[in-house]
Symmetry: C2
DNA sequence: GCTCCAATGTTGATTGAGTCAATATTTCGA
DNA sequence: TCGAAATATTGACTCAATCAACATTGGAGC
């Protein structure tokens, strides 16, 4: 039996093979280029970090200091690099490109850009955009550090994404049918059409360039009562405090807008959400069985007094 | 000034650098492994293509025949590979792994899988899923051949994706406001709630694992009249015949369901869609200016007689 | 039949990549 | 002040990569 983990490993290994055979040539020794791949990488480091030690380059590129030393020596004899003494530290030497080195680098850049450009241009638009968005994602995953969670207001496409993600996730996790999707589509259409900036609000949580969650604040049926609606956290973003931030932000805004009470409707199977509500001070005020989304569920109403809480 | 193309090239080159420094070690010479990266690649080819010539391997891996020859020779002396004469062709030799070769390969596989698995497990869930989906996309872009366009029925999440993509694309291309998003959210909620399999239908076009377009068939106000709604083609998938296939499929289904006439509502700025309608035989029956989605647009109604056409 | 050509596989030669070990030098902290 | 750690270099070695030369074989074309 193959687990998801096995399949993930296979995917990544296949990617590795594809990369080595199809893309690896991207940086390799173009016909007639005076630089090998390794030399080009070192040259790139010399250019970007204007003054640097050989040891810095070795660390950045995970190369052996011996190899860097020899490469720098070759560059020196070719007149591409000069090593100045560091007055502040006798053992460090400051490497920098000469005029000739700058010129050689520029020529290499031009050639590389042209080659990469040709590869991109050779792809049909769909493939190109898929390639580039995947490449950008990988850059961010490996170079972007820990993904930061940010909250923002609604933008075009957000309503649809909220509908799509919730419908898909609850269909796969709880086997809910598409009644749920239609329900939230209508809720969000109403939210937009009745939107009053003094009574309503909404937030999208973003992490790593994608949606990580969402929450909506809507006026309730009675004056002074707000409704918290459609709290959602992406499965992959769980455990990052996204839900708590959304709930807290929503409650704080409700207070700002002068609401005295907040209610929300949910169903009992959504246990992760339940914990968030409890933590925020909500209490369960009503429960009733209901047949929804193809299942026998238990409707719940939770409420929070906004006046007599911290 | 930097064009989009320049940025794309930079993205891909950054990806290349990130890959070489962060992921390149994936296949490299694990401590104590008896195989170098190049040897491991050749071993992999020997395993997967059960019998093969050295020349095949050289072509597959874009290696020099000389290098393959020498590597195979090393493998032979280590007892990992045997070369049998090809009775059909005296110059070709059939290479295959010995028992020892199979064992060595299996050990290498185990070690590699463990290393890749450790890398995956070391990532937080969000990063992991982003990495894997990007890797899968790249595999498909480079190994999957031309993306095939397929049509399918609705699944959970589709309504939301249709809303999200149309809202986002028309906002960026025509600067429409979010009224449009709310409008189609309501249209699709109604579509779901009133759905009758004998009168309504919907299709999602897929290409390369993502949505490439969509179209909806809905019963009209008058008996015998169908409405074509929400035709949409992803910008990246334009020019692939997606729109035409959607329209043709929709019309064919309308005929099947016994409709005698088909109408559609659109606005005049959607010129690409207009061409599709004309091509399918629709004729413009009504035009009226209207202020919609934050702009002065021209509403259009098109109609197609389903009885007296091919 | 024959010749020419292309493909296959091998070997030699050379340069660079990659790794390990040893060493000289310098700085910095205990 | 001493020793640890970092920097830079050199030697030694194996493999990767590339080019050139060459022998061998099968097949296309005559």
């Amino acid at each position: 039996m193959t687990t998801q983990h096995d399949r993930d490993v296979a995917t990544l290994r296949a990617f590795n093979r594809v990369y080595t055979s199809r893309l690896g040539l991207l940086d390799t020794h173009y016909d007639g280029s005076p630089f090998s791949l390794s030399e080009a990488r070192i040259l790139y480091e010399l250019k970007t970090r204007t003054t640097s030690m050989a040891a810095d380059i070795a660390r950045a590129l995970r190369l052996d200091p011996a190899q860097v030393s020899r490469t720098i020596k070759r560059f020196s004899t070719r007149g591409l690099v000069v090593a100045r003494e560091n007055p502040a530290h006798g053992r460090h030497q400051l490497l920098s490109l000469t005029e000739a080195g700058q010129t050689a680098f520029a020529a290499l850049e031009t050639r590389t850009r042209a080659a990469v450009g040709a590869l991109i241009d050779g792809l049909p638009p769909l493939q190109r955009s898929r390639l580039l968005s995947a490449a950008a994602t990988l850059n961010d995953v490996f170079d972007g550090g820990a993904p930061e969670v940010t909250l923002r207001g609604l933008r075009p496409g957000d309503l649809g994404m909220v509908i799509a993600r919730q419908a898909l996730v609850y269909a796969s996790e709880y086997d809910w049918n598409t009644d749920y999707e239609a329900l939230i589509a209508r809720i969000l259409a109403d939210f937009h059409d009745n939107f009053d900036p003094l009574k309503d609000d909404a937030w999208i949580a973003e992490a790593g360039g994608g949606m990580a969650g969402s929450i909506f604040l809507v006026r309730g049926d009675q004056a002074g009562t707000a409704k918290l609606r459609l709290l959602y956290v992406e499965p992959d973003a769980r455990g990052m405090g996204v839900g708590q931030r959304l709930v807290e932000t929503c409650i704080a805004r409700a207070r700002e807008l002068g609401y005295r009470r907040m209610v929300l409707w949910t169903v009992s199977v959504l246990t992760a959400a339940r914990r968030l509500y409890e933590r925020a001070g909500f209490t369960l005020v009503e429960e009733a069985p209901a047949h929804r989304f193809g299942h026998d569920l238990v409707d719940q109403t939770w409420a929070l007094d906004l006046e007599h809480e911290a």
